[in-house]
Symmetry: C2
Subunit: 182 residues, 2 copies
DNA sequence: GACCCTGTTCAACAGGTGTTGACGACGCCT
DNA sequence: AGGCGTCGTCAACACCTGTTGAACAGGGTC
């Protein structure tokens, strides 16, 4: 049965949590195997043992499965009500997107993962709602959302940091609708 | 007179150019004193001699004086025509903003410089044009422009990378006007 | 009691980093 | 010709990094 949960799984998860936090706050290069290990209280070699390599640790920490909602029945004016909470959730300090965003700044592979999220999830999800030249329209929406993430989580532009999510939704609602349908 | 321009100034400028290019393409951590030195064809110690420290080199490479234009006589619908070319120019691969943006991803000090650009230049420049709650309005505009920079230069979202600047202006014109005046 | 298996630590490696101080060429001024 | 300031290099340092392989504790099984 292997029912007896060895501590293995727990410490593995603890390492993953610490890694996600550090990758999310300091980026890839400034996060070291040693810093993650001491944060958890284990030996650096144990981190290697579980994840093989630093890149392996990063991939495990940044792995994300996004379930993009079905928006085909949503009115353009209400897309923001669905999209914004979803992305705000993914961008939490302990979420999987922030490590990826920080790493993408100096790592093409991480940027490609981010690009893949946009290409394979955001674009197909929004395409049915967009008028002519949908790629451009959706790219502009994606850029705007990305910009809000950077402004909030990385640069720290005060009015956006302090803005409640529903206020953000209210601001974005007409803009996203405009981008979708002109 | 010291009129005889020693080569000093030239190599100093060459180092600065190489540093800006590397900081802009690879970020702070992945850019090393040695890589900059070999790109210029000099000894690493010379880089130290001119800029004292790696942070000194970065500050010199990322120093920027922005002359934000006077927009007080500009109609909201035309703000994009001024703002977008200005920012596109600052974001060129060899411009001073991209190193800052990449470094900001893992360096609070760099993020603060970026925040200062927004606080001391963008906000005062746009405030006369904004309706009520101008901070939020301007923050949203800044976030959008920032997002387009990230989408173009870091993530590489194809439709935005390929989009000519005047098309970008055309897309942003009504959105910026909307953010300014509701 | 001997054995193994899992979870973990120890000690060390090879390489790359920022930084330093002493040293060498080269051209100008007197 | 000799000295000197400028422009630059050499060699080394101390440190930190990812990574490795051997060793250790402890508990369940024969």
């Amino acid at each position: 049965m292997a029912a007896r949960t060895a501590d293995s799984e727990a410490t593995r998860a603890a390492i993953l949590d610490a890694a996600r936090a550090q990758f999310g706050q300091q980026g890839f290069d400034r996060t070291t195997i040693r810093s993650v290990a001491t944060a958890v209280g284990v030996d650096p070699a144990l981190v290697m043992h579980y994840f093989g390599t630093k890149n392996g640790l990063f991939e495990a920490a940044a792995r994300l499965e996004i379930r993009f909602p079905d928006l085909s029945a949503t009115a353009p004016g209400e897309v923001a009500d669905v999209l914004v909470p979803l992305f705000v959730h993914l961008w939490r300090p302990d979420g999987p997107l922030l490590p990826l965003l920080r790493a993408a700044a100096s790592n093409r592979a991480a940027a490609d993962v981010l690009l893949g999220v946009f290409t394979h999830h955001v674009t197909p999800g929004l395409a049915p709602l967009a008028a002519d030249r949908p790629e451009e329209r959706i790219a502009l929406i994606g850029a705007h959302l990305l910009g809000i993430a950077v402004a909030r989580s990385i640069v720290g532009i005060a009015p956006l940091v302090d803005m409640p999510d529903d206020a953000l939704v209210a601001w974005l609602r007409p803009v996203i609708a405009h981008y979708l349908t002109d």
